[in-house]
Amino acid sequence: MIRIPCPHCSARNSAEFRHVGEAAARPDPSTVTPEQWRVYLYERSNPAGWITETWFHTMGCRRFITVERHTVTNEIRSVRPAGSSGPEPAEALSGRADAGSPDAGGQA
């Protein structure tokens, strides 16, 4: 089980989160074409590589976060509150590389 470095709670087990899916920008409903809307609803890039996705910290801070994750290695290179801009490097948030106490702690 991977750990997600939550920007609010520090590194936590992914089981605490709901994986919402690839972040998809919502088109302007007043000008959107049916094709664009279908892309927004259903089409995901599903890359073997870097993906920007949304996670919801259901059993933690209950905040939506935007995560850049590598789908092959599960490396996470940035996390930030969803709806904000400017990625923050994951290392700064996850603390030391070992397990130690982050799972148990959470007062980052």
């Binding site: 089980m1 750990r3 397990a99």
Partner: protein, 935 residues
């Protein structure tokens, strides 16, 4: 004790058995006595029993092979527990041990006939034979399941006590042989917390059965472990898997009163030190009881003081085989011949009826014997490092797969026999270096290097000149592998799947290399080119009970649950909630609501308090209808659709004060809606000033319904004018109920009657509930349950989201099209609903009310509506007998072609037979004008 004379030896150095503690037990219906410290199998061997099971396919007698957890012939039933590893499980007094897969008995087995027709049961037999005709599959299944092993489970047994535990530790060491013990000690000395996991009951690995010198080294290592409180030791436990970010699963058996405990460990660094597993040799008769691996002999002699035979032939290609010869000689076994594999010597076959009787050598010499010991090589259980990304490579010098050294993250290290060979001191030195590095890395330090541990040369011995078993659990012979190769299954992964070799309970620990070696022989391709199969979790079997753990299924109840239970409330499980379905007679409860007044506990209704100046914007966004003009003191019914236009939830929201709202959701949708609102607020409109607070259980909710509701309310409500003029339909008021302040009450009409829904501070829920019952006694008040409410709402034609809608139902198909306000700038699902309204309505299903023509008929929910030629035109989504009207009432999703009022449709009942029903003008059967609920 019965049967043959005792094979128990005099006291051995390092023996585990306690001769002062005899344990009586039963095997196959007879009484035996073993010693404390025995395994089931060692106790039986000491009593002269040497056949423990029948093989899977050919029903051949099987005895001890490895005398370890993976021993394929030693799986037994203990009391009501099937598939117990008899060569591992410690004997306990009173155990009732029975053989498995021996119908009708261990001694006489009808399936032995299969041995005679063995050529029909070669690899792929099942795939090829039991295919056609398909209608016979159930019969095949019955016959074959009779032949499959697996023991007997009792259907009466409750879920036993299983446990789970979470551990966060710097270093996990998997395996407590010399290298693992040294690694744990060294890691602890760096300041790291250590978890040391050992599959056996004691620490030490092979040091336990390798002579006096090893025992003294072991006691030193054990003392070092014991002296370090930062090392936690788990024995009879096994690391079953390594997952992302060093999430390590440990299965602990028989611990703290639990049958099994699954320990979920987040480890800084994992040190894999599983040692080596001895590999069987392939020759005709290699599965006869009496044919054993050298490590089995050494375990039996040294750990359990059991004499494994009287006359032995030993085939040895390494020092461990030589040590077995020494052990046998020491305890008085007549070793009639030692064949040295290093000098090219080997055997041809083993023969015997039901057990080993003779060994035939390559030159044709036949040696009568009751014990044949082989020491022909090792398998490195690379399982854990496989899971961490390493792909093992074939080392032809050592004749085994070894870690490639590539692909492992810095948080996974390997040590001991898994890596290479060496003296005890060299293994300890390697373990110590690995442990130090692990401890350093886990604490964020770079750490030093780990020396190489070279592999010693070992002859590549896999198969003699005859064919024998490569997989004892699955009864796969080397001939099957050759046949599979001939049929074109010429890669290791394909052969595995076609022959099922390595797929049995031993999971390749004994079988993998021989399978690949025989395949190499058959295809002429080198082993290094064929590669090994990938070891996946779990490394050792885990019971479903351990995965389930203790049953932590939270249940939620309202503050009035005690009252319901005391008044005949029949519980209904609705998601996590337990609520009363009815109190004995739902129809009577429903009639009472129509005639007098009833109260229902609707606490599970989802409730969210919304506050802030931008709440109307949020409501406009998540509901399809308009919310800008909702006045203080009013409530409105709203429908939420997802972005694809499918109905997601519904409920009413009331404006309590200028900036404070109370939103209600369906009971099952509360969590989803809360997340949905947060999603919009956090990701799309973080500038909106709205606070969402879940208050579902902060309030107890009671719905008062029936023509006498107002009269009842007047008796308990203070400070709120209740007349229709002052407090009309779809209005909300706050006030005091039965002396309780801060109650919210709103007039809505799910039941179709005059109705007040009140939300009172939860701790006063029971008080208000009882006050209502008391105050309404002369009005004929009765509590009603969920079933009566379902009847009432169905009579009124009110839909339930997810009952009368499904995952494809857009608002229009739920009869809610009129609520969709496309002139709003935006709302969730707007574009989809706009196109649907323009292009989709002609073909979209519609929600209609159906009345069966036969007044006594009530088609079960999910009955299909069919056309004259049998096409499906829709389905009944809700149906009940109406106590008010005396005929069946239904809601249904139907094709627009049959949605017009007056159409008579055919409903096919699930049990067969058709009934007819008429499409109604209105969804409501009772009071379609809404006079009653507006009263």
């Amino acid at each position: 004790m019965t049967g043959a004379a005792s094979r128990r030896l005099p006291a051995q150095a390092g023996e585990l058995v306690d001769r002062s503690r005899p344990l009586a037990f039963r095997w196959d219906g007879r009484s035996y006595v073993g010693l404390e410290g025995d395994t089931i199998v060692s106790a039986l061997l000491a009593c002269g029993v040497d056949v423990f099971s029948r093989s899977f396919k050919y029903s051949r007698s099987r005895g001890v092979l490895s005398a370890s957890f993976v021993d394929p012939g030693c799986t037994v039933q203990v009391d009501d527990e099937p598939n117990v590893r008899g060569a591992h499980r410690r004997l306990a007094a009173g155990m009732d041990v029975r053989p498995q897969n021996v119908w009708p008995s261990l001694r006489f087995d009808v399936k032995t006939a299969n041995g005679l027709v063995g050529r029909f049961l070669t690899a792929g037999f099942y795939y090829k034979t039991f295919i056609k005709p398909q209608r016979l599959w159930p019969a095949y299944q019955q016959v074959l399941s009779r032949f499959a092993s697996g023991g007997v489970t009792s259907r009466q047994n409750a879920h036993g006590y299983y446990d789970k535990r979470y551990v966060h530790v710097d270093v996990v060491v998997a395996g407590a042989g010399p290298a693992g013990l040294a690694a744990a000690v060294a890691a602890a000395d760096t300041g790291a917390g250590v978890l040391l996991v050992e599959e056996e009951y004691e620490l030490g690995g092979h040091l336990r059965f390798s002579g006096e010198e090893s025992l003294s080294t072991l006691s030193e290592l054990r003392a070092q472990v014991a002296a370090r409180p930062s090392i936690e030791v788990m024995t009879d436990a096994v690391v079953t898997g390594r997952y992302d970010d060093n999430w390590v699963a440990v299965l602990q058996r028989n611990v703290g009163g639990a049958i099994e405990r699954l320990v979920k460990v987040r480890a800084g660094v994992l040190v894999a030190a599983p040692g080596l597993i001895e590999r069987p040799y392939v020759f005709a008769g290699n599965d006869l009881p009496g044919v054993m691996l050298s490590t089995a002999v050494r375990r039996l002699v040294n750990l359990y003081a059991v004499k494994p035979g009287e006359r032995a032939v030993v085939l040895t290609a390494n020092a461990d085989g030589d040590a077995a010869v020494a052990d046998l000689t020491r305890v008085g076994v007549n070793v009639v011949r030692v064949l040295d594999g290093r000098a090219g010597e080997t055997i041809r076959r083993a023969t015997g009826r039901g057990r080993l009787q003779a060994v035939e050598l390559e030159d044709g010499t036949v040696l009568p014997t009751d014990l044949l010991v082989t020491a022909t090589g090792w398998t490195a259980p690379t399982s854990l490092i496989n899971m961490a990304g390493d792909r093992p490579v074939w080392n032809p010098t050592a004749a085994r797969f070894v870690p490639s050294g590539d692909g492992l993250p810095p948080t996974v290290l390997a040590t001991g026999g898994l890596v290479g060979d060496g003296s005890t001191d060299e293994l300890i030195a390697h373990g110590r270096a690995a442990g130090t590095l692990a401890g350093d890395r886990a604490q964020g330090r770079a750490g030093g290097g780990v020396p190489d541990l070279a592999c010693e040369p070992h002859p590549g011995m896999f198969r003699a000149s005859t064919h024998g078993f490569v997989d004892f659990s699955e009864d796969v012979s080397s001939k099957d592998v050759v046949a599979a190769a001939k049929e074109g299954y010429d890669s290791s992964e394909l052969v595995k799947r076609f022959t099922t070799a390595t797929m049995g309970p031993s999971q390749g620990k004994l079988e993998t290399i021989n399978t690949i070696a025989v395949l190499s022989e058959a295809t002429g391709r080198a082993i290094e080119d064929l590669g090994t199969t990938v070891w996946r979790p779990p490394y050792a079997p885990i019971s479903l009970g351990a995965l389930a753990g203790r049953i932590f299924e939270p249940t939620r109840v309202s503050p009035m649950q005690g009252w319901h239970e005391g008044h005949g409330g029949v519980p209904l499980l609705a998601g996590q909630w337990i609520r009363p379905d009815h109190y004995g007679d739902a129809a009577q409860e429903a009639r009472n609501v129509r005639e007098n007044v009833g109260i229902i506990d609707v606490t599970p209704l989802g409730k969210l308090e919304l506050s802030g100046p931008d709440v109307p914007r949020l409501l406009n966004l998540v509901y399809v209808n308009k919310w800008s003009k909702l006045a203080v003191g009013s409530v409105r019914y709203g429908v939420m659709c997802a972005e694809d236009g499918v109905v997601m939830d519904d409920g009413v929201t009331g404006r309590l004060d200028e900036d404070r709202y109370l939103m209600s959701t369906t009971s099952s949708g509360a969590a989803t809606v809360w997340e949905w609102l947060e999603n919009w607020l956090q990701t799309a409109h973080s500038d909106w000033r709205v606070h969402v607070t879940p208050v579902t259980t902060a309030y107890a909710s009671i719905n008062v319904a029936g023509p006498k509701s107002r009269e009842l309310m007047q008796r308990v409500v203070e400070g709120v004018e209740l007349s229709t003029e002052a407090f009309g339909y779809m209005q909300v008021r706050q006030g005091r109920i039965a002396g309780v302040d801060d109650c919210v009450m709103w007039r809505i009409g799910f039941t179709g009657e005059l109705s007040y829904e009140m939300h009172v501070p939860a701790s006063y829920g029971l008080h208000v509930w009882e006050a209502l019952l008391q105050a309404g006694e002369d009005l004929g008040i009765r509590a009603f349950g969920v079933e009566a409410q379902r009847i009432l709402r169905l009579e009124k034609g009110h839909l339930i989201v997810a009952q009368d809608t499904d995952g494809l139902t857009r608002a229009h198909s739920a009869g809610l099209g009129g609520m969709v306000k496309l002139d709003k700038d935006d709302f969730a699902g707007k574009p989809e609903l706009a196109w649907h309204e323009r292009y989709g309505l002609a073909t979209a299903p519609r929600l209609v009310a159906l009345q069966p023509v036969d007044a006594t008929a009530v088609p079960p929910e999910a009955s299909q509506i069919i056309s004259s030629n049998g096409d499906i035109l829709g389905r009944v989504t809700s149906s009940r007998m109406s106590p008010t009207l005396g005929h069946g009432v239904c809601l249904a999703q139907v094709d627009p072609a049959v949605a017009a009022a007056g159409t008579v449709v055919t409903i096919r009942l699930p049990g067969g037979g058709d009934i007819r029903a008429t499409v109604q003008e209105d969804l409501a059967f009772v009071d379609p004008e809404g006079v009653r609920l507006r009263a």
